[in-house]
Symmetry: C2
Subunit: 352 residues, 2 copies
């Protein structure tokens, strides 16, 4: 049987509660579709940091690098500053494994209530393709004149040709596989006048290679407004690291619940393992009560199987999720239900 080696990092907070449900469903899919998952568990988290002063061991990336994929819960916990926890674990994996595509579906699932008035599932169904290694999340910056009136901080945003072209190309390739074949570019070249005009220039150049694909572009401010007012306009939306981050939280919010939103951090060339994680964070406010929605995690598992070539199994999981929601199966509080994390996980595993 085919074997996929999966590194599992539950991380912090509700990540520890949703990851087991993700694994439960993956296991059901493996049994039904005849492949093996070889799991290796890593307890790297803010607890590790408090004990050892590091979020992961110094050779952490080395330990992960022979796995086929990383399956992550959530990272972050009060008391450990985000720029320590995330930059000690999540960001080094994204960057060290050159997972330059963050792919995030925004889909209104049948049976899920959207905060928008009068929107149907057919009207909200698009992907956000986010650059995941450079841009506004740079490691170049600093502080001058600390503690004085002249104090200032500075941080560079960096767009390389390599980084810009490959993410835009990925968006066009994705659009080519979809019926509407449309790519929307998120920009802000009217205000951020060194980096963003360059983004526009590379977008225009890449578009020439895909004459069948329709394109448009909006500044990020009005684009956010359009997500709310016209979610039906979008098919594939591509943005820089920060803009993609914003749009891929706003998109799922418009589609009803961040608790169901999934994401993939992909190295398309498969030179390194890719990583799959829900969009939600560790949610300290509800952690420990097993009431978190596991669907974001489970859906991320489906994206992982797709990446590993198990397309049928991936489809079986997303179908099971859609059926559960459409048919009024157990649901967590964020979706207006009363069920717990485990109950929802079990129901989806059974359906698979």
């Amino acid at each position: 049987a085919r074997t996929h080696r999966i590194a599992v990092i539950p991380g912090d907070g509700i990540g520890k509660e949703t990851t087991p449900e993700g694994l439960r469903v993956l296991d059901a899919a493996a049994r039904r579709f005849g492949f093996d998952l070889k799991l290796t568990h890593y307890d790297w988290s803010c607890e590790t940091y408090v004990k050892t002063g590091r979020m992961m061991p110094e050779d952490g990336l080395d330990q992960l690098k022979d796995s086929d994929s990383v399956f992550l819960g959530a990272v972050g916990w009060p008391g450990v500053p985000d720029h320590v926890s995330l930059w000690g674990l999540l960001i080094p994996i994204r960057r060290g494994f050159d997972q330059y595509v963050s792919l995030r579906p925004c889909k209104l699932l049948p049976g899920v209530a959207t905060p928008l008035a009068n929107r149907t599932p057919a009207e909200i169904d698009f992907y956000v393709v986010r650059e995941n290694t450079e841009g506004e999340y740079s490691s170049v910056g600093g502080r001058m004149f600390p503690g004085t009136d002249r104090e200032f901080v500075s941080q560079q945003s960096i767009l390389t040709r390599t980084g810009t072209d490959r993410i835009i190309k990925y968006a066009f390739e994705l659009a080519m596989k979809r019926p509407r074949k449309k790519v929307t570019s998120a920009t802000k070249s009217n205000g951020i006048t060194f980096t963003m005009p360059y983004w526009d220039e590379r977008f225009e150049a890449m578009a020439k290679n895909y004459p069948e694909v329709k394109t448009d572009q909006f500044h990020i401010d009005i684009l956010c407004a359009h997500f709310v007012q016209h979610p039906d306009w979008f098919d594939v939306v591509v943005g820089s690291n920060l803009f993609g981050d914003i749009l891929s939280d706003l998109g799922p919010a418009v589609a009803g619940s961040i608790g169901v939103a999934a994401s993939a951090n992909i190295n398309p060339e498969k030179a390194f393992p890719s990583m799959f994680e829900p969009v939600h964070g560790s949610a300290p406010d509800i952690a420990g009560r097993f009431i978190a929605n596991p669907i974001g995690q489970i859906w991320s598992g489906a994206m992982m199987l797709d990446h590993l070539g198990e397309h049928e199994a991936a489809a079986a999981i997303t179908t099971a999720i859609e059926k559960l929601l459409a048919e009024g199966g157990p649901r967590t509080r964020d979706l207006g239900g009363q069920s717990g994390t485990v109950e929802v996980g079990k129901a989806i595993a059974d359906a698979v």
Copy 2:
């Protein structure tokens, strides 16, 4: 009688159609409340650029500096790149006159349909306070290795102590005047790790001076989601130049229509004239047809009168707007009506 000197710059596109309606209503208010407006018109626009190579004359700021306020329509037109038109007119005024506060009300007006389900006017009523001179809109950046595979662009985001403290202070002072007394800080210190942790640090320091004011903070990604899911959480929201820009388009979108949204670019010390403009742009797609909504412009006029000390007149205008909308008076297409720009302007002027 009191006299206020107003520099009027209609600018481009629908700016030329909405500005006269703004002036019509201001004139009605002046007659009713007994003050004079001394108007000076400037035709600075993209047309000027095409003719002269400049958006405004070299001594443009000098020509404006003795006015009490600037009343602006919109800037930008196809064929003239945004980073030319805006950086040749709008941004130099904001920055040259140290209009470091951009103040933007987000208010669901009675009779306006919001894209959100089941939201009432009392639930959407907050201000976005945007830093308006530095941050992500910096003039430090450039391109290296042009035309090669090593090409990259870089742009610094700069937060000074002066710039950061004064905008945060303004937000707290505003909150002190409002019944809920709450300030929300927009950050992204988990991803943008040089500038944004500094923003958090200064926010925390300033909050200590206002023990009566409740505070919270969200990363910009989830904050955008909360604008859609929980607009009722917000009272005063403060953000950097870019985050404030995004939130002040998303806020009005959530509140129904960007066509009614107003904004003030304020130098609170009155060392320089402040500038008042609608949030919408020049809208080339509908320009020339006199169908644009003039309410954003008219409401900006009310904010201008408030700044000039004409509080009663300002209140009369906002009351007239609310009454027109609540009572089903004439409305433009963006609000589901059939009326033109002039008809709406006249109705509001009559009511004043």
